[in-house]
């Protein structure tokens, strides 16, 4: 068990791929914002890569283990310590009853840190997933971020703890973080010539945009687009702004919603349906990068991709988040 001393800025129970199959019921998939961070942490401790772990956003998390466990920390380097002693990330560690883990703030790159424990976080699955949907307050640990006094339980490890500790990743399996994230994206469903101009789409696929500080687990907001982005003067029956259309389902996770002039990447907990056009989708295999982008600090750029490339990238990611990545 893990007794929470300080939940930090926002610590959530998340798994992967999350709660699939409920978009039409108004429930997005939620799930780990960076599935690579969670996946590699799980692989290190001998869990299936999608097992539920803790997603620590921003930092300042502090907790005490009440039993012996094997854990792994991945993601941004929040200068983790156990009982005040710095510990290594991207490797599996043995912790003992009474050990206190403490994280500081985010590193110059990356935004989220993942803590996996051998056996995974043991919370009841809700509609097929242990992920927390923070905006709807359901799933995970009582549908909310962890707070002082919470006691988080874990499942049974896949092997003896002694055989799971000290596992490392191949150096090339550790993801490279940056402050300017290149996201491969596929245009659609609303592009040129009917909704956007060619010039507008060229701009969308070439410019570098700062992640706005108002971004969260539902929406990553980017810098405004000029009026020349739009091919229409208004949205017809859908509304007065050219970004308006009659409500349609959003292809989340990963759709870029154009809401007024603001492009908004709809991510983990995002809305499943609404009345704004969507110009592109970040490919599934690059969604993890969004979760490591820090609002107000990092930049994003879209790179034109194809379905073939995206499917290939899914396969590669599957391989990446497996024991093949262990050193």
């Amino acid at each position: 068990m893990l007794k929470i001393i300080n939940g930090g800025i926002e610590t959530l129970v998340e798994d992967w791929p999350g709660r699939l199959g409920y978009l039409g019921k108004g429930m997005s998939a939620s799930g780990s914002f960076d599935c690579v961070g969670l996946g590699l942490a799980n692989v290190l401790v001998g869990n299936p890569s999608g097992q539920a772990g803790l997603e620590i956003t921003g930092g300042f998390f502090e907790a005490e283990f009440t039993d012996d466990h094997v854990i792994a920390l991945t993601g941004t380097d929040m200068q983790p310590t156990i009982n005040g002693q710095p510990v290594e990330m991207w490797t599996s560690l043995k912790v003992s009853a009474g050990d206190k883990i403490k994280l500081l703030h985010i590193a110059p790159t990356g935004f989220r840190c993942y803590l996996a424990v051998a056996g995974g976080v043991d919370v009841p699955a809700y509609l097929g997933s242990k992920s927390t949907c923070i905006f709807g307050a359901y799933g995970g640990f009582d549908g909310r971020p962890l707070k002082p006094g919470d006691e988080v339980k874990f499942g049974a490890p896949s092997a003896e703890l002694s055989s799971l500790e000290g596992r490392k990743l191949k150096p090339e399996a550790i993801p490279q973080y940056t402050n300017q994230w290149v996201l491969r994206a596929i245009p659609g469903p609303n592009t040129c010539p009917d909704y956007a101009t060619q010039e507008g789409m060229d701009l969308l696929f070439s410019r570098v945009s700062k992640i706005q500080h108002t971004s969260n687990r539902s929406a990553y907001r980017l810098e405004e687009l000029p009026a020349s982005f739009f091919a229409r003067t208004d949205g017809g029956v859908g509304g007065s702004h050219p970004s308006n259309i009659i409500d349609h389902a959003y292809a989340i996770r990963g759709a870029l919603n154009i809401c007024g002039n603001t492009p908004i990447l709809l991510v983990a907990d995002g809305p499943t349906l609404g009345g704004y056009m969507c110009a592109l989708n970040v490919i599934n295999a690059d969604l993890w990068k969004v979760g490591q982008g820090a609002p107000g600090r990092d930049f994003m750029q879209f790179q034109l991709s194809s379905q073939e490339e995206a499917i290939q990238a899914r396969q590669e990611q599957k391989q990446w988040l497996s024991e093949d990545s262990l050193a």
Binding site: G21, L23, K25, G26, D247, C278, N281
Partner: protein, 328 residues
């Protein structure tokens, strides 16, 4: 068709006598949008057809198809491309469409859910009061402490006539989304098609079961949340997170696609008592009739002189009302 790098239309099916042109739009590597027609229009007959085809697609139990998410004029298909190729998916949709060549073939299973409704109850009144106090004290849609007067004004009718319209039509669910368990409910009778603007800015709180209308759609709030629809009363629970009541044994949702909702007026006391019987005693019996919609019959009825005359009369009143009602 030009083959530009931003081309997203993967395939099309031509318009027929009873069906709009169909566009298959790319939406990433795990989604495809099926769009009906190029015009932005919201017509129930499009939705009837789409949902009937949707049932056929789901009936195929395609390996790799995760879900379908119908809107009023689009259907979003969510799939795992490592198990199901987009070409195979398009082929399956085309097959389903071709199996329903004429409007006579469009028969849609549709339940009729009877929901008790208390107009202007004290919980939704609290939501309006809170909005006036904390968000917008001068909101014209709350001028008399509630939204019904404003709703009536926008439609050029009296409050009593407005209530009669809300009770006088079945409300069709074209598909859910946006909020957990929610449904977008459209009037089947155009003579009862109340239309109102949404709150500006939105509310910060709405009670569970609040019944509201925004644009042409009715929404019954599934859980306490913010919201922008004009409130007219409160109905019984249509969602239960805990899934304790037998109605919710397979999931927290009451509404299914293609359901029709019919409201009947009851006292606030009765509505409040039902909450106890749904959430605590779990012994309330929902009144639901099985049924179907025959698109051809609906279209004939919709186009009949009597219905069209009534619809035109309402539109005329609404044009007058819109001039008088303050903008939000």
């Amino acid at each position: 068709m030009s083959q530009g790098k931003y081309d997203v239309i993967l395939d099309t099916m031509p318009e027929t006598g009873s069906r709009l042109e169909i566009l298959f739009r790319q939406a990433g590597d795990g989604f495809m949008q099926v769009e009906y027609g190029r015009e932005q229009r919201a017509m129930l007959q499009d939705s009837f057809r789409m949902l009937a085809v949707n049932d056929i697609i789901l009936g195929k139990e395609l390996k790799g198809l995760i879900e379908t998410v119908p809107g009023i004029r689009t259907n979003l298909l969510h799939f795992d491309p490592s198990e199901l190729s987009v070409d195979k998916l398009i082929e399956a949709v085309k097959e389903a469409e071709e199996s329903m060549p004429t409007v006579d073939d469009v028969v849609l299973p549709s339940r009729l859910i009877h929901l008790p409704l208390a107009f202007e109850d004290s919980e939704t009144k609290k939501a309006v009061a809170k909005y006036q106090k904390e968000v917008r004290p001068d909101a014209p849609n709350c001028a008399d402490g509630y939204n019904l007067e404003y709703m009536a004004m926008c439609n050029g009718v009296t409050v009593d006539e407005c209530k009669k319209m809300l009770l006088g039509t079945d409300w069709f669910n074209s598909g859910g989304g946006f909020w957990p368990g929610g449904a977008f409910l459209w009037p089947t009778d155009p003579r009862c098609a109340v239309v109102v603007p949404k709150y500006n800015p939105p509310r910060t709180w709405t009670p569970e079961g609040a019944a509201g209308i925004g644009g042409p759609c009715v929404f019954t709030y599934t859980t306490p949340t913010g919201g922008g629809y004009q409130l007219f009363g409160r109905t019984i629970p249509v969602f239960q997170f805990s899934c304790k009541h037998p109605m919710f044994k397979d999931g927290p949702f009451l509404y299914r696609n293609a359901d029709r909702v019919r409201f009947h007026e009851v006292s606030e006391k009765e509505v409040v008592e039902i909450y106890g019987h749904v959430h605590d005693k779990t012994d309330y019996t929902y009144e639901i009739d099985q049924g179907e919609i025959k698109a051809k019959e609906y279209i004939e009825w919709f186009n009949s002189d009597e219905v069209q005359k009534g619809a035109a009369e309402l539109k005329a009143k609404q044009a007058e009302g819109t001039k008088k009602a303050p903008r939000l």
